[in-house]
């Protein structure tokens, strides 16, 4: 029953806050909104201990049978193994922290209860996603987190831009979901079940199902590209920053966007037999990593930088998945959840301090004024940049190592591109630190006057996450997950290269730091000079390679044209409206003709009655 309880607690919070929150006041919302996720987290730890005591045997809980069709039954069942355990602990743990942070961040908001209701709803669906045993339950959670994400991106829906960003996220995800659904159908057709453990077992058995593993793999990966914002469906994530910052931290950095990574890792049985699909995953991943990292270098909105950084890091995770190092990808999911949540919340704290300013060009010199935010932000930055011995170093180094050495698709080119993305990561993150916290202040006097450190509820969470970002690398998750997700083999002759590559990773991290210091220290004069020199390149990067504009031309405008001309003018106005108006007009004209008979002349009426009787009699006597 424990697993069911973990899932249902946030749902209870959603109903309590959503229905009663406004009436019972903020203290009630705070207690329910934060309390239930924390209880869920405690229960998750308890289940985790049970799992450990059982030596890693999965815990299964069948809640009820959803449908029974023919010989097939579709159960709502929860499945708690090592992989789900890691995900559930991240979701509830980091989720609880971000809930606590939100009590401070959203304090002044008039829709406080609605915010916590949505956050709890998100947690419910996310837990459904990671705990579901069957693809069907996972899919319900998958759609549900999309819904929660939509609601929270458009949380401040009074502004049309925010509402538009929510719609964009939702619609982009639908495209990926189409692929996901097709993959599910194929799997059900081929294996006759949707339970993921059974599907994996079917693919691992000698008598493999009669379906191309690569085809299924690619279809599922299309779903993953939507949710995890990979090329070509990455466009929604930067816009999703329109939501409140805790939402960006929870949904668009730590948990929901990693659902795609979780899906591929969960279906590793298929991908192990799908070399083609794995290659696609790796290539898309590395392309996204590089692509997003280059954009992040020139963005000026503090949250947009972090958003592109998230896309880039997700790309690296997919590289790991593509070369068969599934557990390493999950390791990076975990460390990324720590440091990216910390970064986003730190950014939230900065925005809070500056009364809503997000443009780094109008910041600078904040280190002294908000020291706790500064320190935690730097720790998390160092972690994401891969500076040892912080968390990001371990996971990223392992990804780079397997990108190079894995027998399942590792290559020098993959390593080189991924390493370059890592270098850019380090560079743009330290650039952000320099522009935000160091150097001279570029704030307007009245903003500067109001700068204040955030309340304890926010800084405390930042400190916890910074600590986790610092030590999270020692978790050695790949080892923990190895019984489930074995690491790919490495050819014998490459083993000696492990240490040089490790040193290479460290050098890359520090090179990024040095580069940022060189360009952005000293008032960023050198960066400005570079910008003027490569104005064309800067324009392309600042315009995000104009992907949005391309989609608008390629998809948006033709669709608008078809809707306007074919459906609206021809279909709706001419065909439907024309037919209906025609019929109505006919009825009106006929009625007009008949109404002329009603003249008021009694003699005419009598004559007509007689004529009618005569006609009726004549008709009834026609056979006589």
């Amino acid at each position: 029953m424990v697993l069911t309880l973990i899932v249902l607690l946030p749902l209870a919070g959603f109903f309590a806050n959503g229905l009663l929150g406004d009436r019972l006041g903020k203290p009630f919302v705070t207690v329910v909104g934060c309390g239930l996720p924390i209880i869920a987290f405690v229960l998750a730890i308890k289940s985790f201990l049970v799992l450990l005591a059982g030596g890693g045997t999965p815990i299964v809980e069948t809640v009820f049978t959803w449908a029974r069709i023919g010989g097939q039954s579709f159960d709502i069942a929860f499945w708690f193994d090592r992989l789900s355990a890691v995900m559930v602990l991240i979701v509830t743990g980091v989720g609880s922290l971000i809930h606590i942070y939100s009590t401070g961040y959203m304090k002044q908001d008039k829709s406080y209860a609605r915010f916590f209701a949505y956050l709890n709803l998100f947690l419910f669906f996310m837990l459904l996603l990671v705990l579901g045993r069957s693809l069907l339950v996972l899919f319900v959670g998958w759609e549900g987190v999309g819904l929660a994400s939509y609601l929270l991106i458009g949380f401040w829906f009074e502004e049309a831009d925010n509402a538009r960003a929510g719609k964009k996220a939702f619609i982009t995800n639908r495209i990926g979901d189409a692929g996901f659904l097709l993959g599910m159908f194929l799997l059900f057709w081929a294996t006759g079940t949707l339970d993921m453990d059974r599907i994996n077992a079917a693919f691992m058995s000698p008598k493999a199902p009669v379906v191309s593993a690569s085809l299924v793999g690619i279809l599922l990966f299309i779903g993953a590209t939507g949710k995890s914002a990979q090329i070509p469906l990455h466009v929604w994530l930067p816009d999703a920053m329109a939501g409140p910052t805790p939402v960006s931290a929870l949904i668009h950095a730590a948990t929901m966007v990693t659902a795609g990574v979780y899906l591929v890792a969960r279906m590793s049985g298929i991908y192990m037999h799908a070399e083609g699909a794995s290659q696609v995953v790796a290539v898309i991943g590395v392309a996204t990593a590089l692509f997003a990292a280059t954009i992040a270098v020139v963005q000026t909105d503090i949250k947009k930088v972090l958003a592109y950084s998230t896309i880039s890091q997700l790309g690296l995770m997919f590289v790991a998945l593509g070369v068969g190092a599934y557990s390493v990808a999950i390791f990076h999911v975990t460390t990324h959840a720590f440091f990216k949540a910390c970064l986003f919340l730190g950014a939230g704290s900065v925005i809070h301090a500056l009364s809503g300013e997000q443009d780094v060009r109008k910041m600078g010199g904040l280190a002294r004024k908000i020291p706790v935010t500064f320190v935690t932000f730097v720790v998390a930055t160092a972690a994401i940049a891969g500076i040892p011995p912080l968390a990001g170093f371990f996971s990223k180094d392992e990804i780079l190592w397997f990108a190079f050495a894995s027998e399942r698709g590792g290559s020098l080119l993959l390593w080189a591109v991924a390493s370059f993305a890592a270098l850019l990561t380090s560079f743009y993150m330290f650039r952000l630190v320099w522009l935000t916290f160091l150097g001279k202040s570029r704030m307007t006097p009245e903003v500067e006057h109001h700068v204040h450190e955030s309340p304890k509820s926010m800084t405390g969470v930042l400190a916890v996450l910074a600590a986790l970002s610092a030590v999270g690398g020692f978790l050695s998750l790949p080892h923990f997950l190895e019984p489930m997700l074995p690491l790919p083999a490495v050819p014998e002759h490459l083993h000696p290269l492990e240490t040089p590559l490790l040193i290479g990773s460290i050098v890359i991290a520090f090179a990024g730091l040095a580069g940022a210091a060189w360009f952005f220290g000293n008032g960023a004069v050198r960066a400005e000079r570079m910008r003027q020199r490569f104005a064309g390149l800067h324009r392309v990067l600042a315009g995000k390679y104009f992907v949005d504009e391309l989609y608008e031309r390629l998809l948006g405008m033709p669709l608008c044209w078809i809707s306007e001309h074919v459906f609206l003018r021809t279909g709706d106005r001419m065909l439907f409206d024309g037919t209906l108006h025609g019929l109505a007009g006919l009825a009106r004209r006929t009625a007009g003709a008949f109404s002329r008979v009603q003249s008021g002349n009694l003699h005419l009426y009598a004559l007509l009655v007689v004529a009618g009787i005569v006609a009726g009699l004549a008709w009834s006597f026609r056979f006589v």
Binding site: S599, G600, N601, L602, H603, A606, V610
Partner: protein, 95 residues
Amino acid sequence: MLLLVAMALFALGLIGVIVRRNLLVMLMCMELMLNGVNLSLVTFAQQTGTTAGAVLVFLIFVVAAAEIAIAIPIVLVLVRQRRTLDADAYTDLHG
């Protein structure tokens, strides 16, 4: 023979209703039609030796009395308004 008389009465009444313009005459013509029907009913009752026709005649008497009791006051009211018995004068009522 009696049936022919009944038919003649009915036809006279009908023609009267259609062609005469005086409201009172039209009402009288309607009575004529009803009496034509009554005569035919009585005749049938006699021919077949049943009582159903005769019973119907009494029903028609009652209906005719009720009808005329309502129709005459209506005509009276109309005439008080317009001072004429011509049915064509009341076409604007669109009855």
